[in-house]
Structures are given as C-alpha cells and as structure tokens.
C-alpha cells in the first residue's frame, strides 16, 4: 500500500510505546488546546521579558535631551570697566553616551551705550573662522576673508551674509550667563544648529 506524504512524515507506529493508543490522544482536541495554551503563555511571558530588553535598547532615544546649559561667564562687576569687547572662553560639555566631550568655545562680551551686556559668538557667519577684535581699528576682523564687524557685531564690510551672532544671555545673582549655541553659516538670518 502506498502511503501519503503526510503518512510517511508522521512517526512510525513502532516509535510509540506499546499500549499507547493514538486515537485516545490524537493531535487534536485536548492536546492541541494545551499546545495553544502553552504557545499563548510562552508568547506572553516572552513579551513580558522583552520589555526591559526593549527599554535597554531604546535608552538613547528615550533619555531626555540634556537641557540647554547656561554657562557662567563671570560676575557683572568684572565687566564694569569694560569699554571694548572682551574675549571669553566657555567650556561646552557634550555627552556622547558614556563619554563627555569638553570643548572650549570663544565668545565676546560687549557693552552697549546703555551699559547692557551682550555676548557674541566668535564664529564668523561666513565660513566659520574665528573673528578677532582689533583695538586699534575698533572693530572685529575675520582673519580668513576680511569680514568686518562693529563693536556691536553689525556687519561693516566683507563677504559675511549677516552680522555676528548674538548669544542668549542673562544676569543671574550678579553673574553673566550665556547659552552657547552654534548657528548655520552663509544664511542672511541666523538659524540655530541643534
């Protein structure tokens, strides 16, 4: 007698213990219901266990971004006698997973006619060179392409598309605080780079 493929694939009768009656225990009814229960139970336990694993994997995404940091530049009195822009270096801390990158960024603290302090990024809005203050010329000059800015950061001459970038600043407990940010180059209006 020829066997159907299904029959050839099923176990030989000799594999089963003597006295074992397949009709009593077919792969249907109670047995397959238990199988379903086990599969469902296994799937739900597996799902439960995968929750911490998933949270572990997406940690870098769910961890809130570090709130923008106000960096202390110095006490207001330090700038009392300031007449021309002063260069200050701020330490910017960036977190990269388990690493901390500390970079130093230069900025200029200026005082306007009313005595109000403001801070400018020293990065030229043209191509990103470092703008330097020249006392003798009483203006800022970019060493790369000769962009020139006034003591208030306004564009005077040269290829830069806009004036120097004003940084957010505030005075807290008599201290000048600055929020250092990067801005996109070559645009007529300043635009923050995240």
């Amino acid at each position: 007698m020829k066997l159907l493929p299904e029959e050839m694939l099923t176990r030989k009768a000799a594999d089963f213990p003597p006295g074992y009656d397949r009709r009593q225990d077919p792969s249907s009814g109670r047995r397959s219901f238990l199988g379903f229960l086990l599969a469902a139970g296994g799937a739900s336990v597996g799902a439960l266990l995968s929750v911490p694993l998933l949270r572990f994997v997406i940690h870098p995404l769910i961890r809130g971004t570090i709130p923008s940091r106000w960096t202390e530049i110095g006490s207001v009195e330090d700038f009392a006698s300031v007449t021309s822009p002063v260069q200050k270096v701020v330490k910017i801390e960036q977190r990269d997973g388990w690493r901390k990158l500390v970079t130093e960024k230069a900025l200029y603290v200026c005082k306007d006619a009313d005595g109000k302090l403001s801070a400018f990024s020293s990065i030229c809005p043209h191509l990103g060179c470092s703008v330097a203050w020249h006392d003798e010329k009483n203006n800022f000059v970019c060493p790369c392409h000769n962009g020139q800015f006034s003591a208030e950061g306004k564009l005077l001459a040269g290829p830069p598309p806009r004036g120097m970038d004003l940084l957010e600043s505030k005075i807290e407990d008599g201290k000048l605080m600055v929020h250092y940010q990067y801005f996109r180059q070559l645009l007529p209006n300043k635009e923050v780079i995240a």
Binding site: G35, G42, L49, K100, L101, V102, S130, P143
Partner: protein, 492 residues
C-alpha cells in the same frame, strides 16, 4: 455508507496530485510539523517526572545568557580604559541596564547550581551508563566550557574584584611544569594583566567558548535523543514501557514550569538585589584582598593548603586525577546497576568530594570572618563598593578634550599661549584641542619635532608646503608669539 467512504478514500489516494498542491510552502510546513513532532514525541519510560527538568533548565538558562549577553554588548567596550566606565554606564544610567546585567550575572551562578543538580542527578540515577557514555563525555566538555565562561566573564567589568580575582586565577597556571609561564602569558596577552588580557577574555567569553557550547549542546542533545531517556532507576522494563509517556505534554509542562520558576527567581533577585560594581581596577593597590566567585571558593581554599614544594601535587595532580576520574566514570563503572544504594563506592566518593568542597567553602568563609587582618580589609572593600554604587555615573572625559582641558589648568604660561592660539584662529584649522582637522595636521607633539627657534621661524614665515596647505604667517606681538611657542613646546 462505509464501503463508499472507503472507496472515496482509495480514490483520493490514487488520484494524481495536482501540481499546485505540493507547493514548497506546504512541504516546508509539513517538514516543520514533523520536526516538531519528532521533538515532542520522545517517549519517556516510566512517564514524565520533575526529576528530569534540569537539562532543559540549563538550555533555557544558556539561552537567557546569550540574549542578555548580546544586549549588554550594545554598550560594553572591552578595553582597559573603557570597560569599567561602560559597565558603570549600564548599571547606573541605561534604562533597565542594572536589571539586565543582574540577570546575566546571577544567571551565571544559576547555571552552576543547575549544572551541579543535573550532574548529581545523572550520577545518582546512574544515567551515564550503558549506551550513554558519549552523552556523559559531551556533558563533561560542556561542564568545563561553562566554568570557562564564568571565569572569562568575571573579568569583563574590570573592577577591583574582577581584576584581582583574575590575576590570581591566571597565576595558578604557572604551577603547570614547563609550559605554565608561557600559558599564562598566552592567556594574558603578556606577562602582566592589561588591556590585552581583557580583549582575550572578551573574545573567549563572547565568541570562542559560546561557539563550542553551541556545538556541544547540539551533540549532547543528539546523543540524548539517540540513547533515549534513561527513565527511573528501578522497575521492570515492561512495566516502564507500559507507563511510558511522550515528552509532550506533561514533561514539556514540567520543563516550562521549572524555566518559569528560574526566570522568576532571577527576575526578583535582579530587581530587589541588583548586582553591584566596585571601583575601577587599580593595579597599584597592594592592600586588595581578592576573593573568587562563590563556586570557586572551595578550590581557592584548597590551594591555600599546598606549600611550594608540594604545590604541584595539590594544585595539579590531585584536581587532574579527580577530573579524569569524573570524566572516565562511565568507563570505570561498567556494571548496569543504576540504584545508588547498590553502588556504595561510587556514591561515597561522589558525596565525599561534594561534602569536601562544601566544607572547604565553609572554612574559607569562617577564616575570612575571623582573620584580624583580612576581615577589616574585606569590610573596607565592601564599603568601597557601596560608596562607588552611591556615586552618580561619571562620564569619561573623551580623549581629544583632555589635552586642552588639562593644559589650560596646569600651566599658566601654556594657558596664555592657548589664549593666543584661540585669538589667532589657529583652532579653526588645527582643532580646538590641537588634534588637527581635515584642513591642517595635529600640533600635538610639535614641540618634539621643532625647537623654539625653528617654531618661531616657521610661524613667522611658513614653509612652502605649509603655505600650500593654507597656513598663514602668524603676525602677533613678540610676547604673544613667545607664549604661543611655549604653549606649543608643552605639547610633547
């Protein structure tokens, strides 16, 4: 009705199969079905029993280790300068990090416990006998591989206890005559412990040993299925055959219940008593008293009794003898008797070794509690671990930012020079940290290459090569140039 249905059945069998019906998908489904069937329909003489859950429990635990291990590698870096930071990051900062690391660390202890239960059950039930000799041998290999996993994994966090326990552990190799020192150096990647040791242990722990474990688990399971389940230790063969049950459903249920109990236990432990991390390994610490993980403590205590001359006997000959005895067990004990009470010699030796190991562990523990020099030091070490765990995670200062940060702090002249460097816009090309950018080379080490006079000349008048690269002459006041040169000179 009956004859008709028979005819129908016959017709169905003899009718040519339409081509489309035997599609590949159907075939594969049938094959998968038969595989599952073959896996689940293993007959167990004497029926399912709770005593048989340890083997599948080990497989389950091993899979748990593989999964948690793979996830841990997402954040772990196996070098001496980052390993400890990354484990601290996982433990203190990453969401669920401490939980997953704890499941992995406690999982290794759980494997040792279930392994001992599995081996003891196999031994007491005499299940290594007869056609199951090779099965026992494959199991012995797996035992050794698992001990290798726990030994290599222990070093990876690179904290004090990991470092010093592994220093002692690898030193034991030197007791092996002739090749001991070379073996130790090979394992450590040098004569001393260092970052190369960590790399080697990582490769062993994550690639090499697991590959062998997968292979030997396959061999072990294959041999088990070939030999069939051993069944109870007594009873008439015919009665056992009669009462035999298939692996599915009852034994599967038992196995699943055991696995669930194990994972629940691990989960509760990991949640309520997470694994800690000590301070970073400090090789210069001469006070540290290393203690191995609990399952190595008996061996550790045993080693203490052997003084230099006899050490080879105690540390090498006796353990090797016991190991050989253990591995060769099915070849030495050839009687078909399986009941433990009819095998007094074998059972007595086994019990003696087990009780001996337990006693050694207890003695070691008692000594540590009583020793006036050790006890306070161990307490100090525990306090150091607690203190470290309380501290918030300290991110590692990334390499490039170190130069500028440290320089500016230490040397006032260099700090002045750095200011000139910043003002003149040198950083735009040579980098904030002087490590160079795509536009210009790094200046770190420039002080080694050029003396101050040469530096002054190239700064004032760059060479053709430098000008071609975009370097402009530095036009500053003499005193500024002087501090700038001093600053560059410091950058050796």
């Amino acid at each position: 009705m009956e004859p008709e249905s028979v005819t129908l059945e016959k017709e169905r069998r003899e009718a040519p199969q339409p081509l489309g019906r035997r599609s590949g998908l159907n075939d594969r489904r049938r094959q998968a079905d038969s595989l599952l069937r073959a896996a689940l329909d293993e007959p167990i003489p004497g029926g399912a029993s709770l005593a048989y859950v340890f083997g599948s429990g080990l497989l389950f635990l091993f899979l748990s280790q593989v999964i948690t291990g793979m996830f841990l590698v997402l954040y772990y870096v196996p070098t001496a300068d980052h390993a400890h930071t990354t484990i601290a990051y996982i433990t203190k900062e990453v969401t669920s990090g401490s939980f997953i690391r704890s499941i992995h660390a406690y999982g290794s202890s759980a494997i040792i416990i279930v392994l001992l239960l599995h081996v003891s059950q196999t031994f007491l039930f005499g299940s290594y006998k007869g056609p199951r000799k090779l099965l026992w041998l494959a199991g012995c290999v797996l035992f050794a591989l698992m001990l290798g996993m726990s030994f290599t994994g222990y070093l990876l966090p690179w904290d004090q206890k990991a470092y010093f326990a592994t220093t002692v552990g690898t030193n034991i190799l030197t007791y092996i005559p002739f090749v001991g020192d070379s073996l130790k150096s090979l394992l450590r990647g040098g004569t001393e412990m260092g970052t190369l040791t960590l790399s080697r242990f990582f490769v062993l722990h994550v690639f090499l040993i697991p590959a062998f474990i997968f292979t030997f688990v396959a061999i072990h399971v294959f041999l088990f299925r070939k030999a069939g389940a051993a069944g109870p230790i007594q009873g008439e063969p015919e009665a056992l055959e009669k009462s035999s049950e298939l692996f599915y459903p009852k034994q599967v249920l038992f196995d699943i219940v055991f696995a669930l109990l194990v994972i629940a236990g691990l989960g509760l432990l990991a949640h309520y008593a997470p694994v800690d991390l000590g301070p970073k390994a400090n090789p210069a610490d001469t006070q540290y008293v290393p203690r191995p993980e609990w399952y190595y403590v008996p061996v550790f205590q045993w080693l203490k009794y052997w003084e230099s001359g006899l050490a080879v006997i105690g540390i090498l000959v006796i353990p090797s003898f016991i190991a050989i005895l253990f591995v060769a067990l099915p070849f030495l004990d050839r009687s078909p008797e399986r009941r433990p009470w009819k095998r007094p010699v074998a059972v007595t030796i086994y019990a003696f070794i087990f009780i001996g190991l337990g006693a050694l562990g207890a003695i070691s523990h008692r000594n540590d509690l009583r020793d006036p020099t050790i006890a306070p030091q161990l307490a100090k070490q525990r306090a150091a671990v607690e203190a470290f765990m309380k501290k918030p995670f300290q991110p590692e200062l990334a390499g490039p930012s170190l130069v500028a940060a440290t320089l500016a702090l230490t040397d006032p002249i260099a700090a002045k020079g750095k200011k000139v460097y910043d003002q003149e816009g040198c950083a735009e090309c040579h980098g904030e940290d002087l490590n160079g950018t795509s536009a210009a080379p790094s200046l770190v080490g420039v002080g080694d290459k050029y003396d101050p006079v040469m530096l002054e000349s190239v700064l004032k008048q760059p060479t053709q090569e430098m000008t071609d690269g975009g370097m402009m002459p530095v036009e500053v006041k003499d005193e500024d140039l002087k501090v700038l040169i001093l600053f560059l000179e410091v950058l050796k």
